[in-house]
Amino acid sequence: MTKTFRMNEAQPRLLDETGQGIVGAPLDRPEGPKKVSGRAHYAADGLPEGAAQGVLVRATIARGRITGIDEDSVSGLEGVIGVFHGPEFLRNPAQGMAGEAPVQPGGEVHYHGQPIALVVAESFEAARDAAQRLVVTYEAEAGVVTDPARSEELEQDDPETAGDFEAAFAAAEVTLDRSYTTPAQAAAAMEPHAALAEWEGDELTLRGALQMLRFNKEELADSLGIPAEKVRILAPYVGGGFGSKLGIGPEAVAAALASRTLGRPVRVVMTRQTVFDAVLRRTETSQRLRLGADRDGRLRALSHDDRVSNIQGEGFAEPVSQASQFLYGAEGLSFAQTLARVSRTPAGSVRAPGEAVGMLALEQAMDELAEMLEMCPVALRLKNLPEKNPMTGQPFSATRLGDCLREGAERFGWDARKPMGSRREGEWYVGMGMASAARSNMLVKSAARVRLSGEGAVVETDMTDIGTGTYAILGQIAAEMLGLPVEKVEVRLGDTSFPGASGSGGSFGANSAGSATFLAAKAIRETLAGRMGCGLSELTLQEGIARGGNREVPLAELIEEELVEEASVEAGDTSESHFSSGFGAHFAEVAVHAYTGEVRVRRMLGVMAMGRILNEKTARSQALGGMIWGLGAALTEEMAHDPRTGHVVSRDLANYHVPAHADVPGDMTVVFLEERDDMANPIQTKGIGELGISGAGAAILNAVRNACGARVYDMPATPDRVIAAMEAAGF
């Protein structure tokens, strides 16, 4: 029986007492040699004997009904095997943690770009050719709303409030009321979504590009109408996710269906264009920030309202004001959201849903308030550190926001910041900006198995490593707990035949799968203590030697048969009694070209407190990656739609501008402040992958303002917008 541990109270900091000393160490990733030599196998790597290849066909109307798919239009083409469509096809990927099939629209089209059929052929070339030629006829609906700004199908809940915002805002000595927009954005993971399906009798094995296998298995089974026990998913390597691979997608279901009918393996890899068309995007937002403060900078009123969009039938709405609800607090707080329904590529989670766009607005508004108050932006934030979550009244489990702000200012040389527009180097204005960072933290039900033999240990869980460092950190936790060199621990991931973990998403993977691994290893420690005849607290395990009860025994001698323990963990009372979030501070220096408006980021610093760090090297990579995503959101990324049909215009990597080498400065620093979050989980960690992006873009935009006077309210701050804003500011 698996023991499920509920996080009901603070746990001892066992990882600080164990003797191996490798938790937190900046170790290389164990799978690194495979990755750098091209031997790590991703979903689309490899075609088994006899495999056929499929290419998805997209709808070319915004909304309506398919009246015919003319298979004869391609059946004569050399190598074409068949055209597949039908009631099981997915409209779009499942939302994260859905655990059931997403919308299966039958013969209906709900957005331009929706995958409606799969053409399967002997070769990729034949399938691609046929997919482009396939004749599809439609009955298009008239008057379809494809522009979210014009949607009248609006959903609105009562605002979330604390205190009386209107009264506090009216009474405030200084007030600010600003509107911002952010465009739709794409996760654009480098690995396109891919699936390789193969049946053996009624059992399906799917190699997929997926982040959350425990849920994906249920979603795939439900989509196909088969029991979940008949499905096995493998995803040992995933080429990035960022939310885009949270749920089962159309490529997986289509591959499974075609493979079942044909009795041979079928591989379906989305083209890059299909990834843009048919994978959940981040919604565009329009946001309104109202801040009211005393002359001395104390916030009295804070309201953050937003409007986002999604297609009909999707429950997800980007939680734009998530961080605004707890980061500072005020007497009067109010947060209202409007969700507009629209016939466009559906929206879902993209790295740090909520904070990634909401903090661009909040932290620019704070910067502007600091200007109005003639106050240092760092000091304004320090003045408004809340004692507890201002909306819920929960105490924070651990917060070092103030320390991050002070430490960051010190390390960055913040006091050298000049008045707006006064630092010029040739044709470049140079400026500095900063912002706070916050991203709430979670623990999600997770299980893992640890085996210990004389040879070493093995960790098994269906958890994924999407670049996050799971292989490294789970190995380090197990090695630490069992007193083994890390090379003696093998980590096996990405296989649904292993115990089910949280999956990678919401920055909760390390917390959750890490805690399960920790607990399973802890159970093994208990057995070992029994064999040593000592209490658990007396047991020391180090370099393969067990010590306790005045004895010293090589570990191998304590183990006759392999010791196997499985453990599972879930959130408990501490998630109610306390509020857990990562906090940090971002600093940026930019140069803005006086005549073209081009923005060059010169350096960035992120100081973060995110609980116990499990591997300083992979954690730093995660944080840096997030900060660069912040750069993209601030300066380059914009998913453009044609307002007439709603189709994605910037549907490839030449038109959707993810940051490239030349956009990113070499001078990027991440500093972690020592912290333990005792209320978060048994290993005292917090999520990392999303804190780095939260606020980072705002630090850049605030630096642009300081450099050249341009305050850009419609993001990204492309040269045209910067120039216009500079002119508006009189530069």
Binding site: G32, F124, M190, G625, L653
Partner: protein, 183 residues
């Protein structure tokens, strides 16, 4: 699932044969006339280290060395490379015997998911040669003379290789580290 040459049994009139050298070995592939070098490497030869990120020459994940120069193999038709010499990531080193660049990527954590990584490494291999040969770039102060191996040069010259995990600063540290080891 074993990687196999799935097309071995599929012979039709639009097929042709091309012979080239891959990682020092003479290879012959039978392929569709439309097959890219990338797909021939991945699916015919089972060399899946070279990745397909866009199939449009926009991401660099498919970078290979063609007669020593870096190219996007998704933009090359296999048919055009009769007699050519191709080097893929597999030809630069194996997990047991990594070369200096590969080791540096591991040591510096110059990757996260690893999907763009083979392309970054192959591209960097050729890029360092271009630098040594004195080929100027947009970041170079002058069109002639010695090109410095500084971060700005590496950033400019590596900009054809996207990394959505955004390991950029560490990728460049890794390249600089490997270049120093070599010189």
């Amino acid at each position: 699932m074993p990687i196999a040459q799935a097309h071995a049994t599929f012979k039709q009139e639009s097929h042709m044969r091309t012979r080239f050298t891959v990682n020092g070995e003479a290879r012959e592939v039978e392929h569709d006339t439309r097959t890219t070098l990338l797909d021939a490497l991945r699916d015919q030869l089972g060399l899946t280290g070279t990745k397909k990120g866009c199939d449009h020459g926009q991401c660099g994940a498919c970078t290979v060395l063609l007669n020593g120069k870096r190219v996007n193999s998704c933009l090359c038709l296999a048919a055009m490379h009769e007699g050519d010499e191709v080097t893929t990531i597999e030809g630069l080193g194996s997990p047991e015997a990594l070369n200096a660049l590969q080791k540096a990527f591991v040591a510096k954590d110059g990757y996260q998911c690893g999907f763009c990584t083979p392309g970054q490494i192959v591209s960097a291999t050729a890029m360092l040669e271009e630098l040594r040969a004195g080929d100027p770039s947009f970041a170079s102060a002058s069109l002639e003379g010695e090109m410095p191996l500084d971060d700005a040069e590496i950033a400019e010259r590596m900009s054809g290789n996207l990394c959505r995990c955004s390991a950029y600063p560490l990728i460049r540290e890794a390249i600089a580290m490997a270049a120093e080891v070599k010189s």
